[in-house]
């Protein structure tokens, strides 16, 4: 059994960590949070130069073709550093959708641009509150023309193109939903930035008025493609959450060792020790579930839907648990703007719902386990 990343992949992780430690310190995250820029352009370019944007994009489309396990280790470091760039939207959602369903021309147009850092992509799925569901999609597509509004769209105000989920029929079946690829500079597209719990990442409302769009994948398979994209992204975002959990745990541990109160290190109090031990437990369970997701993702295993849901749930729980208790260990200082604890807390709460909420994935996991048992 070799249920671990290879030495090369671990080396890549170290390389990514070194790069992000230097190029993405908390100061860089704060610059975006303070509204100095919608995202860190220099970091984005650097990620492209390092080859991180195209790590899972085949060489034929301008990537390095290394694979998804490589993408997982980079994702972990992106989460650890809270990188204020549209990585997850572009790489996990848009690029994955193109790889799964794009035509050769679509791939040729967008994938090399993504790998070079010249194109930001996203997935426009949600229309107001609610979880991923074909019923919730009202944005209409008729004769290749889109009308409707998407909200929230991650990185929507900075993206160059979007994969848009649209309704093409009203039979009540999943086949009513089709995907479209939209150049966001097209006429009729209007993007408006929204305020979010985690201002280090852009959120937007995008309205489409008589926008010409090209189909992505077969017309009646939109929902099926979308489900696969969400599963793949669940694993990858899971790694970001694992990276964030680990960092929040480390911050709490370091503070508990450093801070003296009642004449002793606060890390010598059992109430604090046990809280940190529980954070370690959550982070470890999440990491192990995500490793299984990584295996399923990288081998296109039939176990992927179940593995992805488990990774998603476990990683969401762990990141929220670690980020909130990191603040608790810090006490009052943890609630200041000056300390970095809230950056992790904000990110953990944003990613917890960004791909569908915890309760949605819990429901998905049990449904998928049930179907497997019935089969």
């Amino acid at each position: 059994m070799n249920f671990d990343f290879s030495d090369d992949q671990k080396q890549l992780r170290d390389e990514a960590r070194r790069f992000l430690t230097e190029k993405c310190p908390p100061k860089a995250v704060r610059a975006v949070i303070d509204g100095k820029a919608p995202y860190d352009r220099e970091l984005w370019k650097g990620l492209a130069d390092m080859g991180f944007l195209g790590v899972a994009i085949p060489e034929a489309f301008g990537g390095s073709g290394a694979g998804h396990l490589e993408l997982c280790v980079i994702a972990e470091e992106m989460g650890r550093a809270l990188a204020p760039v549209p990585f997850s939207s572009t790489v996990y959602l848009a690029a994955e959708a193109l790889l799964l369903a794009g035509s050769d021309a679509q791939k040729q147009k967008w994938l090399p641009a993504i790998a070079q850092g010249n194109a930001i992509g996203t997935l426009a799925l949600f229309e107001g509150s609610g979880n991923p569901s074909p019923k919730a999609i009202k944005l209409a597509a008729a004769n290749g023309v889109l009308n409707g509004t998407k909200k929230p769209v991650a990185d929507g105000a900075i993206a160059d193109f979007a994969i848009v989920a649209a309704r093409t029929g009203s039979t009540g079946r999943d086949s009513d939903i089709a995907l479209f690829l939209v150049d966001l500079t097209s006429e009729g597209v209007e993007a408006k930035a929204l305020t979010s719990i985690d201002p280090s990442r852009n959120q937007a409302e995008i309205s489409f008025k008589n926008v010409k769009a090209e189909p992505l994948g077969a017309a009646n398979e939109g929902w099926s493609i979308l489900s696969q994209v969400l599963d793949r992204a669940a694993v990858l975002i899971g790694f970001e959450q694992v990276g964030g959990s680990d960092r929040a745990l480390e911050m709490g541990r370091d503070y508990a060792l450093d801070r003296i109160a009642f004449g002793r290190q606060i890390g010598s109090f059992q109430a604090v020790k046990h809280m940190l031990a529980d954070m370690y437990v959550s982070a470890t369970l999440a990491r192990s579930n995500c490793y299984y997701g990584a295996w399923a993702l990288s081998t296109n295993a039939s176990e992927l839907p179940e593995a992805a849901a488990a990774a998603r749930i476990s990683a969401t729980q762990a990141f929220q648990h670690c980020s909130k208790n990191n603040i608790q260990v810090h006490g009052g200082m943890g609630f200041t703007w000056e300390f970095d604890c809230h950056l992790y807390y904000r990110r953990s709460n944003a990613v917890a719902v960004g791909l569908g909420s915890l309760s949605y994935w819990e429901d998905q996991l049990i449904e998928r386990m049930r179907q497997k048992n019935a089969a």
Binding site: N2, L249, Q270, A277, V281, T284, I313, I366
Partner: protein, 409 residues
């Protein structure tokens, strides 16, 4: 990343599987597959027969050296054997403490002659060992123990009481930690021995547990004579010796820990509530999902440790979470299953739903959060050894033991 054996591992697995297929007591498979078997004690003879058969063919205590009754196997081979042995591994329970904890301690501290004499019959199950550590005044605080050993010529005379000793009633030998010097701080005045459980003055009494069962014992020592030659480690070094024993307690990588989740999933898949199957209820799903990811998380955590063994590396600390997570899960899951049964959830045994398995777990599971390290001790271990946080401040650390206040039972 893959779940495949290396060619050597696959070869070893094939040999192990073939031998188990040809030799396992298949007539016991059904009984062993049941989660809560009440016949376990009664199965001691069968267990001994299976252990002896394994030992004769070189399949006992695989990781021990051959001269002590083992096979000289690598850690990963031991894991593969456990996977292949499957339900028959449950037959090894009477020997688990002896082989898992007493054996390594004897191996580390006994004389060569003693090792050759005592270890092979321990490996083969012909002799069963128990571990005499916990006392009414010292469970988590095992160094607070009060059983006295006093030197008398070439012997030691032991007086005192141990508690929570699994298997004392069928054990042939035991390792025993005693206080030999109460005038020094508590960790410094301890000495370890092994003794014949049939020695004069040893009295074993079963404990009736809160759940009505009897799985543990109290053991009383009245002027029990132990030869100095059966001392393990130096006089006063018993604490360090005991750490060898305890380090082995939670090292069982690869043996899957029970969480209760598969049983709950099955129960919810079949239980009809007012509005349909329990598993279709959103609240039930949410709870199930939370436990599902803990269950799978533990499974893949152990896979990570196994992978390290397979590469010949030392596993990381990740496996330390197993007992902590599974102990709490068992209890929470059982209570949730009873909750789903409504008023009938209060019934037990044949009167209850699912043959009362969840109620039996409600009553038995408190012990899973205590035995082999309480939840609190396990939290401390993770905090101190994994995260590097400071040890607790110990007010009794530098005080002579006989000046330390005590009260407890």
């Amino acid at each position: 990343m893959n779940f495949d054996d290396t060619p050597q591992e696959a070869e070893f697995r094939a040999i192990a599987r073939k031998w188990i297929d040809a030799n396992a007591p298949k007539e016991l498979e059904a009984e062993l597959t049941k989660r809560a078997s009440e016949k376990r004690d009664a199965m001691l003879d069968v267990a001994k027969a299976w252990q002896k058969k394994k030992a004769d063919a070189g399949w006992a205590c695989l990781h021990w050296p051959k001269e002590y009754g083992g096979r000289g196997s690598s850690p990963i081979e031991r894991v593969i054997w456990q996977q292949e042995e499957g339900v028959y591994d449950k037959l090894a329970r009477p020997f688990a403490i002896g082989q898992g904890m007493c054996g390594p301690t004897v191996m580390a501290y006994a004389s060569e002659d003693q090792k050759r004499k005592y270890l092979p019959p321990l490996a083969s199950g012909e002799k069963v060992w128990c571990q005499l550590f916990s006392e009414p005044a010292g469970g988590s605080d095992v160094a607070g123990l009060r059983t006295r050993a006093e030197k008398d010529g070439d012997d030691w005379i032991v007086n005192g009481q141990k508690i929570w000793t699994s298997g004392a009633h069928y054990s042939d030998y035991g390792i025993l930690i005693t206080r030999t010097d109460p005038n020094v701080p508590k960790h410094k005045g301890l000495t370890m021995f092994f003794l014949d459980m049939k020695s004069e003055g040893v009295e074993v009494k079963p404990i009736k547990q809160a759940n009505g069962m009897q799985e543990f014992n109290e053991v009383f020592f009245t002027n029990v004579r132990i030869p100095d030659a059966q001392r393990l480690g130096a006089v006063g070094d018993g604490w360090n010796v005991s750490l060898t024993t305890l380090m082995n307690e939670r090292m069982s990588i690869g043996s899957r820990v029970a969480t209760g989740f598969p049983e709950l999933f099955e129960f919810c898949s079949n239980l009809m509530l007012e509005d349909g199957l329990a598993i279709d209820d959103p609240n039930v799903r949410s709870k199930l999902a939370s436990w599902a990811v803990k269950n799978s998380g533990l499974k893949y955590t152990s896979y990570r440790s196994i992978s390290a063994l397979s590469k010949g590396e030392r596993p990381g600390p990740e496996n330390s979470i197993g007992k902590l997570v599974s102990g709490m899960m068992m209890q929470d899951i059982a209570m949730f299953a009873a909750d789903l049964q409504g008023a009938s959830g209060a019934l037990v045994g044949a009167d209850a739903e699912a043959a009362g398995e969840f109620q039996a777990t409600i009553l038995g599971s408190p012990s899973m959060r205590i035995a082999g390290g309480t939840d609190e001790i396990l939290h401390n271990i993770i905090a101190e050894r994994v995260l590097g946080l400071p040890g607790d401040i110990r007010v009794d650390k530098d005080v002579p033991f006989n000046k330390v206040p005590t009260k407890g039972r």
